[in-house]
């Protein structure tokens, strides 16, 4: 890649830059900051589009009462049951049960606190979806 061809397409990097290796006019390799690349931006937006779509599906299910609000917070943090279980140190099958509305509603305070503390939110926030 030529130094002049280093893409500068703003996108997922916000105000940051990444480094690209490119050849200068003397044929020497130099490090050139780039503000992003269209191809990489497209691929990233695609990935986040899917994540957002999944999240809105979960919100619908939570509103309909098919899933507990915990499912929303899990999805929002891009986690699955296994990962969340590891973080809060509650076994997988229990976390899975907590995704049920009826079970979640009857959860004792100490378990709710554990989740809330992990997600860094209050218990009230844990019990609802926006």
């Amino acid at each position: 890649m030529d130094k002049k061809e280093v893409p500068q397409d703003n996108g997922v990097l916000d105000h940051w830059h990444n480094i690209q290796y490119a050849v200068d006019e003397n044929g020497r390799y130099t490090l050139v900051p780039s503000s992003g690349w269209e191809a990489a931006n497209i691929a990233n937006y695609q990935a986040w589009g899917i994540i957002e779509e999944r999240l809105s599906q979960v919100i619908e299910k939570v509103s309909a009462g098919d899933l507990s609000p915990l499912a929303y917070h899990m999805e929002k943090n891009l986690m699955d049951i296994g990962l969340l279980a590891k973080y809060v140190r509650i076994s997988r099958w229990r976390v899975k049960r907590h995704l049920r509305t009826d079970v979640f509603r009857r959860l004792p305070l100490n378990v709710l606190e554990r989740y809330a503390k992990f997600f860094n939110i209050s218990i009230e926030e844990l019990q609802k979806v926006p």
Binding site: A39, A43, K86
Partner: protein
């Protein structure tokens, strides 16, 4: 306070390595680290799934470059893992108080200074901590423009991220640099290993062979998976290639930069010419990403668009085989 000069680099692992070694007086560029550590790689593991998509990797496993470079140059490193976050943070503080910059392995999801689009659960991100300011840590993250601050709470979380490749608080610092590092020998060993894994791998899912294998697969993606799913696969592959640790095209260009440095150190004109050819390979990989992104966005929908991609990949495979063979000849 440690007088640490932040230098931005393309890849976190080689960036941290180059930064730490430069601090300890061994000036060695990121590209040299990449080459000595045999960073060039290709692997296609359809049975390992990342978010339900096949693992396509352009990098050797996390930590491998670091290990190879330190071994080949005779650098001594102290590396520790922890089970208790409090102990881990105290150990970090102790080293910082002694004035030693420390490398950490972290989970990207928990590092608040990253743009939101990068905060995936990726657990092999390397960074350097070089100071404290109140309850914040001064961090030189090699992929960012400038040093940043990170709170103790966030850093602790990042060090104890869970899931695939969980870092378990891993931290490392350089303890000894040899007076006369044998750079020439290290470079040759680095090059030979790359040629071996890429040209004559022990398993057929790695190296040039795997590039051709994937190229054949891509041709039938739209038929096998349907258009929507093929787009997902493609987007995933581009992200693996260009985002996660700069991947395919970027890595080929770094390797080209390494060949340039190596040709000077070894005083071998042939490697300089081969560097030019390696640049062409990197450009070809980038072309693949551009074409792939067009399909992802729906700008190219024709039946033959996947054939074009497949042809580009086959091209990459052929070119890499040819160049690596010449490199092997030049260094044997």
């Amino acid at each position: 306070m440690i007088n640490f000069a932040h230098q931005q680099s393309a890849h976190c692992e080689t960036g941290v390595l180059s930064g730490l070694l430069s601090y300890h007086g061994l000036n060695i560029s990121e590209a040299l680290c990449f080459g000595i550590g045999s960073g060039l790689f290709f692997g296609y593991f359809p049975f390992i799934k990342v978010h339900g998509l096949p693992l396509i990797t352009f990098r050797s496993s996390p930590g491998a470059i670091f290990k190879r470079v330190t071994q080949r140059l005779g650098i001594t490193v102290e590396s520790r893992k922890f089970s208790n976050p409090e102990t881990a943070m105290k150990a970090l503080d102790r080293l910082l108080d002694q004035g030693i910059p420390v490398g950490l392995r972290t989970g990207m999801f928990w590092l608040p200074y990253f743009p939101s689009h990068f905060r995936f659960h990726f657990n092999a991100h390397n960074l350097i901590v070089f100071g404290r300011e109140g309850s914040d840590y001064r961090i030189s993250d090699p992929v960012l423009d400038e040093p940043v601050l990170c709170s103790r709470r966030d850093l602790t979380r990042a060090r104890f991220a869970e899931g695939l490749l969980s870092p378990k608080g891993r931290m490392y610092c350089v303890t000894g640099i040899p007076k006369h590092a044998n750079l020439k020998q290290a470079i040759l060993r680095g090059i030979r290993e790359v040629c071996m894994t890429m040209l004559t791998p022990t398993i057929p899912l790695v190296g040039v062979w795997a590039i051709h294998h994937l190229a054949n697969k891509i041709r039938v993606w739209p038929k096998r998976l349907g258009h929507e799913k093929s787009k997902l696969y493609l987007g995933h592959m581009i992200r693996m290639q260009e985002e996660i640790g700069t991947g395919g095209g970027g890595f080929r260009l770094i390797y080209a930069a390494f060949l340039q440095d190596a040709s000077e150190i070894l005083d071998d004109k042939r490697l300089h010419d081969l560097s030019g050819k390696m640049t062409l390979i990197g450009d070809r990989w980038r072309e693949f990403a551009v074409q792939g992104a067009r399909i992802c966005k729906g700008r190219a929908n024709g039946e033959n668009s996947y054939d074009i991609l497949s042809d580009i990949l086959h091209d990459c495979g052929h070119m890499e085989k040819e160049v690596l063979r010449e490199i092997r000849k030049a260094t044997s």
